[in-house]
């Protein structure tokens, strides 16, 4: 049996051991996704906590015949977008001004990595709009195939494809503004 479904069934019965299993398997990728989407560590932490509380609250509505991860990401996404809309109601497709690499604050290891070549890319990603960061994170970090990516975003596959291309093109434009493509490696 799928361990996610098993643990979801336990959580539905009120057994919080089910939560431990679900969190153990999904907490890292969920946190990374939220951090990319909201762009601020403190907000990502709040949303992370709210997401798991919502999961416990709505677990009865989870269809166990489907994979757990897309449902989890949809719950997280709704909470994150609610937050972003409250903070900046005009548009989620506009760039964030603070362009610090997400997750680099106060972490010596992250600083060391940030000194390397990927810092330039992390900065460029952090400077993108939330919805651009989201689609890139889902594709390249969460490794979601296009149909699952579209399902998580709640859009048809061609729209997801167009959104992915647009985000890549904007990222490429930002990267080219800082260095020629030969230096990206």
């Amino acid at each position: 049996m799928d361990p996610d479904r098993d643990d979801a069934a336990r959580l539905r019965r009120g057994d919080t051991a089910g939560l431990t299993g679900l969190m153990g398997r999904h907490q890292d990728r969920l946190f990374r996704y939220l951090l990319r989407l909201v762009g601020e560590e403190a907000v990502a932490e709040d949303t992370f906590q709210q997401t798991w509380v919502q999961v416990a609250e709505r677990i009865g509505r989870y269809d166990t015949s489907r994979p757990f991860a897309p449902w989890l990401f949809t719950v997280a996404r709704n909470l994150a977008l609610d937050h972003l809309r409250r903070r900046r109601p005009e548009s989620l497709e506009e760039v964030d001004e603070p362009a610090a690499p997400a997750g680099a604050q106060g972490d010596p290891l992250a600083h060391a990595v940030a000194r390397q070549q990927s810092a330039r890319l992390a900065n460029a990603v952090a400077g993108l709009a939330p919805l651009d960061r989201e689609v890139l994170s889902l594709r390249f970090e969460e490794d979601l195939a296009l149909p699952q990516l579209a399902q998580t975003l709640g859009v048809p596959v061609p729209t997801a494809k167009a959104r992915l291309y647009r985000a890549l093109a904007r990222l490429r434009g930002r990267m080219l503004a800082t260095a020629p493509a030969e230096d990206w490696r």
Binding site: L19, M23, R32, V53, A56, E57, A104, R172, A181, R185
Partner: protein, 155 residues
């Protein structure tokens, strides 16, 4: 290079094309140096994205989250139990009320026959009994609710 070709090259690097599209792109790249160079740039970008540092939630955050969820689940369980208890009590109270009506009617009828004199209407006695019972239960519920609010409980 057309915008459509550029889009295909970017999506190919992102492995977001279906197999037939990907094959067409590969065939085109074999004979087009400009597109091959462009495809290389998209690939470098995609590889960089896959190698971005992975932030992880701190242990403190995970512990706080588990605590919050456990508190929520406990509250939800208590709420469900309270709902079930309330349903049972209401059903029990109605059953008792109907049974009491039958018993009271039987007793009052039998007593009236034995004494050979009419006593107060059974209906009035029963109504008084019912009102007194429900008023007592209502007062108890109000007092209990007030006490729970004072304890800061939300259920």
């Amino acid at each position: 290079m057309s915008a459509h070709v550029k889009e295909l090259l970017a999506l190919a690097a992102a492995r977001a094309l279906d197999p037939s599209e990907a094959a067409r792109v590969e065939a085109h790249l074999a004979g087009c140096a400009e597109c091959a160079r462009d495809a290389g740039e998209w690939r470098r970008l995609a590889e960089g994205l896959e190698r971005l540092p992975t932030p992880r939630p701190s242990r403190a955050l995970v512990a706080r989250t588990v605590e919050a969820v456990e508190a929520h689940v406990a509250e939800r369980t208590e709420r469900a139990w309270n709902r079930a208890a309330l349903g049972f009590l209401v059903a029990f109270a109605w059953t008792l009320a109907v049974l009491a009506w039958l018993v009271l009617d039987l007793l009052a009828g039998g007593l009236a026959l034995r004494l050979e004199s009419p006593i107060a209407s059974t209906g009035v006695l029963y109504a008084a009994y019912l009102v007194a019972g429900w008023l007592t239960a209502g007062a108890a519920a109000v007092l209990l609710g007030r006490r729970r609010r004072e304890e800061g409980r939300t259920v």
